[in-house]
């Protein structure tokens, strides 16, 4: 029984920058490699914007009772910082890597739907620009990235910022859904005939699972967004309690999307780590099937934990208990993954290249983020610490320590393949140390700030004992991170000016993308080597001791 049919490859040449020189080809191109790179540029651009917003936030919070930024502007900035980093940085970067490497890793020449691929990119870009256009149209969204009702209703946010938020997110959401459809279909239909579904590289597997997460999560968000749009534009009452609506219905929609969203960002990041650790430990991934299966467990459980974002809403102990259980359970498959990555290093031959350095930082910092996450599953602790800087610290340890570090690891790892040039390792190490030290300086101390009572999302704070000291330290850390990013940009700039010199397989890796020239030709593979195991290039390089045959 087959639930799908195989799609024949396009016989005609699809438009790409590589087929002509016209400037319009930037827009017309449907080449998955070019779109992948454009996704990464998009993410990098918005990372600068979101990063500058973060610097403004830290400048404002460096001293108590600061009047540098007005509360109205501060609220717009922290809202846009959250939206930008999640929807316009982390997701596009991961989608970009997946768009570029998923076909290469499974021996395909294109995505299953090349035009949908381009559509997804452009609509994400437009959604992002639309949201930023709000700054010129009467004020950016200012009700937080979570946009709780009734604060985001007309009565309390009459400026059009929230409308821009709604439309912008609907658009980027449609973009994400189209990317997810493409990943799923490509993985199912375009694998080289040798590669069975249980043989794909872990990055591909996690992107595949992630596709289903996106398909199920984003419609929830979009449904909620449309209801809010109807409320705001046509005076409906879905979320207005004074006329029969519900103030917490939105929270259910938002977090039923929002918690899977965390894993939507984390799973591909885990995929990158699962590719990088083995290559630089010179060993196959430890417990492939546990890493793969735990992703499924995470994806399924991700939908039954969202109420832990709402433990302070006042649900009964009965309801909260069950969500506490499922929230703690989801920590188990995640912890298992960390164990397997460490297991991969065991008895290896570890090369501390820049990508591997980022993986090490990931292992330490993501563990902190994961463990502090468990404290929110323990309901009474959540009752004290939710919506404080402890939570701010936790989520940055997950998103920066987990996701952004993986993206950096992926960037240094795959840059030679994408551009044909090796990024400078020396500058890379500067970037690494500045960024990682800055990150930990900024956010480790925020755990304590939260425990001593500093709530999040406040534009200023009273001069209480030690608050100023800790906030100043935190802001100094942000400067370090900023310096690290400047070095990354310098590194990208100088590297891209050099001629192409990277070999086909600079890291001596094992997955199929390293069997193509750097960068790959428009048609990825003239011919694909036969694949018998999860590491096709290992088998080719070591015919004397190949991996166990799987097909």
């Amino acid at each position: 029984m087959s639930l799908f049919i195989n799609i024949p490859e396009d016989s005609e040449q699809l438009p790409s920058l590589k087929t002509g020189q016209g400037k319009l080809l930037w827009i017309a191109s449907v080449d998955h490699k070019q779109i992948g790179i454009m996704y990464l540029w998009l993410a990098l651009f918005f990372f600068v914007v979101g990063g500058l917003e973060a610097m403004l936030i830290r400048a404002q919070l460096a001293i108590p009772e600061n009047t540098l930024i007005s509360p109205e502007l501060y609220n717009q900035i922290f809202t846009m910082h959250g939206i930008t980093m999640i929807f316009l940085v982390a997701m596009p970067a991961l989608v970009g890597f997946a768009t570029y490497f998923l076909p290469l890793m499974i021996g395909a020449n294109e995505m299953a739907f090349p035009r949908l691929n381009a559509f997804g990119f452009w609509i994400t870009l437009m959604g992002g620009f639309l949201m930023y256009f709000s700054f010129f149209a009467g004020g950016a969204p200012n009700a937080g990235w979570f946009n709780y009702v009734p604060l985001s209703e007309n009565n309390y946010s009459s400026a059009p910022g929230v409308d821009y938020y709604i439309i912008g997110l609907i658009l980027t959401g449609i973009g994400s859904i189209s990317a997810a459809l493409n990943f799923i279909t490509t993985t199912l239909t375009l694998r080289s005939p040798d590669i069975k579904l249980n043989m794909v590289p872990l990055f591909v597997w996690m992107v595949f699972i992630n596709g289903f997460l996106i398909l199920a999560a984003f419609p929830l968000l979009n449904a909620g967004l449309f209801m809010l749009l109807i409320d705001r534009q046509f005076d409906a009452h879905f979320f207005i309690p004074s006329s029969g609506g519900s103030a917490i219905l939105w929270q259910h929609f938002f977090w039923a999307f929002g918690h899977p969203e965390v894993y939507i960002m984390a799973l591909p990041a885990f995929g990158i780590i699962s590719e990088v650790v083995p290559v630089f430990s010179r060993k196959p991934i430890f417990g492939y099937k546990f890493v793969a299966v735990s992703s499924i467990a995470i994806a399924l459980l991700a939908y039954s934990v969202w109420l832990h974002h709402m433990f302070a809403v006042g649900y009964s102990n009965t309801v909260n208990s069950f969500f506490a259980i499922s929230s703690m359970l989801i920590g188990i498959p995640t912890g298992l993954k960390v164990i397997n990555w460490i297991g991969t290093m065991y008895k290896g031959s570890i090369q501390l290249t820049v990508p591997m350095l980022f993986v090490v930082a990931f292992l330490i910092d993501f563990t902190i983020g994961g463990l502090s996450g468990v404290s929110f599953a323990i309901v009474p602790i959540d009752w004290q610490l939710t919506d404080t800087y402890y939570l701010v610290a936790h989520l940055h340890y997950v998103f920066v320590g987990g996701v952004i570090f993986s993206i950096f690891a992926g960037l240094y790892y795959w840059f030679p393949k994408m551009s044909g040039r090796m990024l400078s390792a020396k500058l890379g190490k500067w970037h690494f140390w500045l960024f990682v030290i800055g990150f930990n300086l900024t956010f480790l101390i925020q755990h304590i700030l939260g425990i001593i009572g500093m709530p999040r999302r406040i534009y200023t704070y009273p001069d209480l004992p030690n608050w100023e000291l800790m906030n100043v330290l935190s802001s100094i850390g942000a400067v370090f991170m900023f310096a690290g990013m400047v070095i990354l940009f310098w590194n990208l700039y100088t590297t891209l000016k050099k001629p192409r010199s990277a070999p086909e397989d600079p890291w001596d890796a094992w997955t199929l993308e390293w069997h193509t020239p750097s960068p790959p030709d428009l048609k990825n593979f003239g011919e694909i080597p036969r694949v018998y195991s999860r590491r096709p290039l290992w088998d080719l390089k070591h015919p004397d001791k190949p991996d166990k045959r799987l097909n």
Binding site: M1, N198, L300, S304
Partner: protein, 288 residues
């Protein structure tokens, strides 16, 4: 009446049920050649069914506890069938006795072709999951005279004539039919692993939505807190109507989902363990 006293009182344990359970188990041992794990699964399945129907926990329903009806439904529809199907040996070991029996079990060979068959079992299972819930809630409401989970029926309503035994049997049988595509004793009649996971995941969504509906409608029912009901508060597990309904919904949702998640994980782990099919490779490269 404390729960421990109630639980240990022999009068609350069904002797007939115990005898029937033992007889069924003995018959199973005599009739089939099985290995230890299969015997354990059978024992687990039977004791779960007995706990749900014949033990003091089962009879808590007489105190109007909706959560207990939900618990019964989860056991009969979602848990016991998995154990039962696991308890049956593969065909090869029991060719003589099982050949005809397994042919009788629905499967791909039954004539309903392919996808349609799986969709049919899925729909049947989901429909019974929802229908069984509302039927038992309605019965409970008719017996007790107050609303259960938003249903308020008269004491002479038709649902009171539906025997409990019928409901329980339907739940168990449909549970078995609904889980056959995933746990069929003959592996070749099962769905492929990834499809089985999709089947379980979508079933999980059904129980999630039901659980959500039951649990969160408890808060919105206007007078559910204002009227303390004698039965539920007097039961050995005293709780308010609202707690009872929330518990019912959450039981259906979280443990219900976890059952499916564990099954999905297990199926995939064995999928990764599967030995490669005999291969037939010669050339080094092929062109695409």
């Amino acid at each position: 009446m404390s729960f421990t006293i109630y639980f240990l009182d022999p009068a609350n344990w069904s002797i007939i049920g115990l005898i029937v359970t033992i007889l069924v188990f003995a018959g199973y041992l005599l009739f089939f050649k099985t290995n230890t794990s299969q015997k354990v699964f059978m024992l687990l399945a039977l004791s779960l069914i007995y706990m749900a129907l014949g033990s003091p926990i089962g009879s808590l329903t007489s105190f109007g506890l909706h959560s207990i009806t939900m618990l019964k439904q989860i056991v009969l529809l979602m848990v016991a069938p998995i154990f039962l199907l696991r308890a049956f040996p593969s065909r090869a070991a029991n060719e003589k006795r099982l050949g005809s029996l397994y042919n009788w079990l629905p499967g791909e060979t039954m004539g309903i072709k392919n996808t349609n068959y799986f969709i049919a079992t899925w729909i049947l299972m989901s429909a019974v999951m929802w229908g069984g819930h509302f039927l038992s809630a309605g019965k409970l409401s008719a017996q007790l005279g107050h609303a259960i989970c938003g249903l308020s029926l008269q004491s002479n309503s038709w649902v009171t004539h539906v025997p409990n035994g019928l409901i329980f049997s339907i739940l168990l049988v449909v549970g078995i039919i609904g889980l056959l595509p995933v746990f069929h004793p003959m592996p070749e009649k099962r769905l492929k692993p990834v499809q089985a996971v999709a089947y379980l995941f979508t079933a999980c969504l059904v129980c999630t939505v039901l659980g959500l509906y039951v649990a969160f409608s408890a808060t919105s029912a206007p007078n559910i807190e204002a009227v303390p009901v004698f039965d539920t508060v007097l039961s050995p597990l005293p709780m308010s109507l609202r707690t009872d309904q929330e518990l019912a919904g959450m039981l259906m949702w979280v443990p219900g989902c976890i059952i499916y998640v564990i099954s999905a994980v297990e199926i995939l782990l064995s999928w990764y363990n599967a030995a490669p099919a005999t291969s037939k490779k010669t050339t080094e490269h092929f062109t695409v």
